[in-house]
Symmetry: C2
Subunit: 244 residues, 2 copies
């Protein structure tokens, strides 16, 4: 079954890495908060290590090893571990740690995101669909000025992508069929999860997502209906418009 | 305890009657669809009768008399009854009835809503919080160009306002305290429900909400923290800004 652009009614967008540049945003805030406390931390490397703990920490929830918890809680646990590992735990009190966790609530959009989403929004319902909690996403989307029609979060299913329920809860809330939703993501695991849940998929390449020392997912390794290099390109590709 | 504008972080807005003019929108669509079918229906009166069945139909759900169902389903049941009562049931087939139910998905904003919400949004998280389903609200908000930061629906609690869970689910998703949320509504029952759930309240008078022959709720009969005549006035009143 080929991809039918005419069937798409909703464009659901992953956020971290796909729509916003988490690494630049987190690195900058980590470096600033560390500097205030007289600690030298390389923000980029710290952000990389922090993000590396993201998937395994979620998998413990998705796999049923532990109850559902907010992404903020997972971020906090990884942060505590990391500060310990770096031998700087004493320099970061409760207040500083809370501010660090909230760094993930304020991240810059990739250059093409705002205009590209605005273009898509002319023809489609454009939704955020992330593992970030609803409050986190609301703050993040507002801060970055991202023009979504609505915010959806895996929190609403009390699980995490790539579990099918994370996608299917969003599909049900929007009262559409899975095949009417195009999931846009920069990560193979997310594209795979969406496809398995019956959604159409667009892989959005973000070669710089993980900085200079970590290779981001590449289109060659991903099976998706579309491949694009930004939201602007996606808006052009989808100009055939929705079925109406 | 007096009202403290400095405590407010979220402005939650009721939709039907408060933000959009359901009566004008529904009346126009009912009249148009009836005319197509060669039936003379006075759209305004029909809209009034339809809306009159709204609270009782929801109360059967909130009171536990029946399982939670979509607002669309309640609208459809009331519609079927009404068409029967008017003796015009035969003129409206399945397709026409579906279109009539979807009239509630496409309604015009009151004149002050778009600019007033935009003003509020500069200082607060501004959310839709309605008994309309998530999909209905997404369509409605998009169609009317209402600049909300996020859409929340009583559907997320699988109940209806004025049940406390409808408000408190929204509060929890936004990760704030009830007293940090200002509920804006044109209906006494909604203001009462929000207050009982611990939210701050703003009664927004819409004297024309129910048309010329039905009296809308009036400020004198409502106990609320604020009384305003539109979203523009509310934005001015709240200019003291949020606690930051």
């Amino acid at each position: 079954m080929g991809f039918d652009v005419g069937a798409i009614r909703v464009v659901a967008c992953d956020i971290f890495g796909t729509t916003v540049d988490w690494r630049t945003g987190v690195a900058r805030q980590v470096a600033a908060i560390a500097a205030e406390r007289g600690v030298a931390l390389e923000g980029g490397a710290f952000a990389d290590d922090w993000r590396e703990r993201y998937l395994p920490s979620m998998q413990r929830v998705s796999g049923g090893e532990r109850e559902w918890v907010y992404l903020d809680t997972l971020h906090r646990e990884s942060l505590d571990e990391l500060l310990e590992l770096r031998g700087v735990a004493d320099a970061f009190d409760e207040g500083a740690r809370r501010r660090l966790v909230r760094a993930w609530h304020r991240l810059p959009a990739w250059e093409d995101s705002v205009d590209g989403l605005a273009g898509l929004r002319e023809r489609y319902v454009v939704a955020a669909l992330s593992n970030g909690g609803f409050a986190l996403l609301t703050n993040l989307v507002k801060g970055a000025g991202l023009p979504f029609d609505c915010i959806l979060s895996a929190e609403l299913a009390r699980t995490y992508k790539p579990e099918p329920e994370a996608y299917l809860t969003a599909v049900r809330l929007l009262d559409v069929d899975p095949a009417e939703v195009l999931m846009v993501a920069a990560h193979k695991w997310d594209i795979d999860g969406a496809r398995e849940a019956g959604l159409a998929t667009a892989f959005l390449e973000r070669p710089l997502e993980k900085g200079p020392s970590v290779t981001a997912d590449r289109a060659d390794d991903v099976e998706s209906d579309l491949v694009v290099r930004g939201f602007g390109e996606l808006a052009v590709l989808l100009e055939a418009g929705p079925r109406t």
